[in-house]
Assembly symmetry: C2
Homo-oligomer: 360 residues x 2
């Protein structure tokens, strides 16, 4: 039995889902893989609960309960330190730890790099550290001690399919086409069904399908970061600024509060209705598509054939279609839930196991 120390940055919804999944998997992982996952540090934005001997399941439960009741990690029985991430990563006597980044911040990069230099491992659901400069991406990933399956399509093995099935078989990826936003999938499927843009955006916001400010989804930058991560995984030296991104709201609506925005968007209903009608007249439907080909990437609303893999996609599911030398003319397609705390936590756990089994 090998014990794998875990250090987690982030204790929000995804962070707690990861903790719960780790706890639930304990018996299964002991007999199946001969590994025991053990938290030694849990960090939120103010500091960290650290216990080099391992945080007990009871204390993990109490920390989650405190957080869910609106109290901070500091308000738990675990020893709490108001320190920066670099100090937390340097837990005395811990070796071979896996650092889990489930924040949404790019400020974790120095701590991640420091951990990798220390021969730790890292698992990211956080896209930001991989969406900085290409030099920073390479520094983080070159050692192959960092995994990031959950950054694209949550728990779906999209990165694994690309790395392990296509790149490792020396197949040539000619084009990737994908829908990587459940929110924008909900929007485009609704537009196709004749609903109005403003009603769909308001509904999505009410249902919690969007970020607190829906413009964070509608602007397309989250999808662009996923496209960037796929491109860089293929070795393309792309920067985020080089990706063409179409925003689903005009620049004049960028200012003002989310409430102002939701008020103003009825003016967009007619232009979107016209685009939908134009697509339908040509036997097509609109989808918010990330397309990667010949070293370049575009992200935006596209009219696609109704009976194409992307056109058949309905609702919030994500999809990745890989057009390669082997998968031609039909692509290899991976489809399913690509968001949500459970799927994301599942992706994180899969990466943890993958690293634990590599490091024997």
């Amino acid at each position: 039995m090998r014990t794998i120390p875990l250090i987690q940055f982030g204790f929000g919804g995804v962070g707690r889902a990861v903790v719960r999944r780790v706890m639930k998997a304990r018996d299964e992982f002991e007999w199946r893989y001969g590994i025991q996952l053990q938290y030694v540090a849990l960090c939120d934005s103010n500091g960290a609960a650290v216990e080099a001997q391992g945080i007990s399941f009871g204390d993990l439960e109490r920390a989650m309960a405190a957080k869910e009741a609106g109290r901070g990690l500091a308000d738990t029985p675990i020893g709490y330190q108001h320190e920066g991430l670099l100090d937390i990563v340097d837990v005395a006597g811990v070796t071979g730890a896996i650092v889990i980044d489930v924040t949404a911040s790019d400020e974790t990069v120095p701590a991640l790099q420091w951990a990798l230099d220390k021969d730790y491992f890292a698992v990211l659901a956080n896209k930001k550290p991989l969406a900085g400069s290409i030099a920073s991406f390479r520094q983080l990933t070159d050692s192959d001690r960092l995994r990031y399956e959950a950054t694209v399509g949550a728990g779906m093995p999209i990165i694994a399919a690309l790395r392990q099935a296509l790149i490792a078989s020396n197949d040539h990826v000619r084009r990737i086409e994908g829908c990587f936003s459940g929110t924008l999938g909900f929007l485009t499927t609704g537009l196709q069904a004749g609903e109005s843009y403003s009603a769909l955006v308001r509904h999505a916001k009410q249902q919690g399908y969007t970020e607190p400010d829906p413009r964070d989804d509608l602007g397309g930058m989250d999808v662009a970061r996923k496209a960037l991560i796929l491109a860089r995984t293929m070795g393309w030296p792309l920067e985020l600024s080089q990706i063409e991104v179409e925003s689903l709201y005009p620049p004049e609506l960028a200012a003002g509060s989310p409430a102002d925005f939701l008020e103003a968007i009825s003016a967009l209903d007619e232009p979107f209705r016209a685009r939908v009608a134009e697509a339908q007249a040509a036997g097509q439907t609109l989808r918010y598509v990330a397309a990667l080909e010949s070293g370049a990437a575009q992200v935006g609303l596209r009219a696609v054939p109704v009976d194409s893999p992307v056109g058949r996609l309905q609702g919030t599911d994500n999809l990745a279609a890989f057009y390669t030398d082997v998968y031609a003319p039909n692509p290899m397609v991976l489809q399913g839930r690509g968001a949500g705390v459970d799927g994301t936590a599942a992706g994180v756990l899969a990466d943890i196991v993958s690293l634990a089994l590599t490091d024997r």
Copy 2:
């Protein structure tokens, strides 16, 4: 740079495609993974070409040319030995080799077991060794030194998705539904379009979509073996005899030559047309489906909703739909080319790289 010795059982279409893929990947794998794949033995059904120092690319080319010209491996410049596989596996001075089984025989099991006991690795495109007794499956797979991605869905990462994305994230797989035969996909899509059973079977045979005897596809045992491998990968202690298999021809047509069979099957057109009409009246379509649930597996012709993942599948593409706790109500779906020498060779190469990178 690490050199990984390769010992290959089988030098037919898939076997040669693997050799070609290995040769083509040489430069790429050197810089990407720091590994050099080097054949030390190539075996056909009569014996083997063995060269412990590594068979040169020139000799590999000559061996493939000889084989494609209808001559045997023995008729090549490489030293040829008329020996059993056990002797071949025991190449003097070779350690850490990967044995590749691309035969269609169950007689490779003792040599595979012997290789694993010797701390070699194994990669199978051959289903037979994994479709014997559950005890034999466990003996081969328990060490985790054997990979078999190409046995189900060729190069598509179906086994990887199951093992690495679902099992390793402690997700609970409730049901797997899949179409794992390009031939039967061609048949059922054609039936849906109104073509007759006999015309489709004859056409498939002419186009080389079927085995030399089409009954080897139509009987369903090949799909049943794939279902068995998926079940066992989940830890289900299933035997092949416990899988319900529906054959697409009646027992009275089991005797006689393939030509006799193709002559006699016009009598089946009407019964199949009736089943298709019945399904269509209910808004459904027929697909040859492998279904795994609650520890049991069935393989046969099923009426499925036209707009389900399996119902939407067209032509020879394969599909696997995983219904799990995380992927609910919509399954995670993997779809694409699931047969052919190129896809199968790609799956074999992906497994070789996976083992080479694990063994550091």
